[in-house]
Symmetry: C2
Subunit: 297 residues, 2 copies
Amino acid sequence: MTYVVGIDLGGTQIKAAAFSPAGDLLHRETHPTRDGDRVDGVPAWAHTIGGVLEAWTARFGRPERVGLAAPGMPAADGRSIAFMPLRMDGLEGFDWSAHLGRPDGVTVTNDANAALLGEVWQGAARGRRHVVLLTLGTGVGGAVLVDGGLLRGATGRAGHLRHISLDPRGQVGIMQTPGEIEELLGECSLAARSGGRFDTTRALLAAAAAGDLAAADVWAQSIRALACAIASYINVLDPEVVILGGGITDAGDQLWHPLERELDQVEWRPGGLRVPIVRAALGGWAGTYGAAAPALE
Amino acid sequence: MTYVVGIDLGGTQIKAAAFSPAGDLLHRETHPTRDGDRVDGVPAWAHTIGGVLEAWTARFGRPERVGLAAPGMPAADGRSIAFMPLRMDGLEGFDWSAHLGRPDGVTVTNDANAALLGEVWQGAARGRRHVVLLTLGTGVGGAVLVDGGLLRGATGRAGHLRHISLDPRGQVGIMQTPGEIEELLGECSLAARSGGRFDTTRALLAAAAAGDLAAADVWAQSIRALACAIASYINVLDPEVVILGGGITDAGDQLWHPLERELDQVEWRPGGLRVPIVRAALGGWAGTYGAAAPALE
């Protein structure tokens, strides 16, 4: 059969999906990343991805094209990740084209950018040309579409929406930004923000719903920070729509209702224009859609 | 003679400049804006600009093209300012093409965007494709170049760099943004930030240089906020260069030295990459260059 492959290499999971050229999902699989392990002299994740492609080739034939989404900054030629400090040892400069036996190339995309491309292809950003995407989970991710194309910037690091400062005197984040949104909203910082009482947004919200005022206050501050960050992105980037994805959007009305109230206060609405804030449509598989989407072009 | 005209309509001054098609400055004039006055049934600024063009036409012949820079958001067709609340009554929807007798059109550009286009044409952004420009004065202005073109966004409001939040609990600015950079750095907020002691950055810096620790602390907080804002722009927009203009850059080393020290702390520098922060080259006339630049194309 004729198909294309999108692979999303994450910190804990590898997701792989096969699509028809028209975009129908044909098959998908999940495997553990095993970051840090090595097999046959290569990182375990590279070995696993190679194995998936071999198995699919045996079952379905050789895929027409393969795209890969991964954390970090892609090289200028789009064939590897050039910069990914601290995690995923071996990923920087890893030659996917050689490893997967694809002399025609494997398109490598930043994972947040891939999620946005996926939403543009088949999700909440379909038909849009100016989009801000935020993923709210353990960390906070982001990507930006300008005039129908990914905002990449001079070196490929544009769209790192998590690294904006909401407090010049605040805690410094992984990339030096004081008081960044991840420190105010990401699940990774929840224990610190709640005096060690909560590890998950789910537990925090259950306590708030049960009348725990301290928990409610921690959440209210996160939502205020998120609304201010969204207002900032709107004023700088002027998107048609802001898309929120990631596990924290499972909070449902406990997220959307207070967020709308805060945006009523802090969003600049020239001539009454209000930017819609909508939920991502493809869930955790957006990255595979986006990794496959450029491969379809 | 063959020439093009760039006009910068500001809140207090109108600047008009004539350029050769090759970009040489041939002639320039300054007039008061007289915002709020009317002459012969039109706003005084429109009457003044009409008079300048009539006089130049009599002296130099009819200009080939005319471009205008003004505050607010240009209409989608680029022939008027569509949105400018609170100031410059009469500017919204004003038909420059009809008023100036230019049926071929008058290109209308946002003033900060024009300053950036001017710097691209003949200033500090020459040859650059990814640029962040900030003007630091009474207020704070901004504009962004992406892939060699102005970042306009879905409705033309992109690049409003002043309206980013650096404090979700801070003072709300003119467009609802809490703790925006203008409230932390703009001269308009200096009296409030200094307990009523200073109205100008010049006076503040003179006191700081003379050993006034309270003045030095106000300035240190402004510089910290500016460094954090610049770090945020860099992480979202990934420019090759950040250009600072406006009256506050007259502070010289009292601005640049502490700003560099703060950026050493808060700027994300992947692989050692450090984004140069440079001073605007065209001073207060950048807007006329930029207004004329699109008129040359």
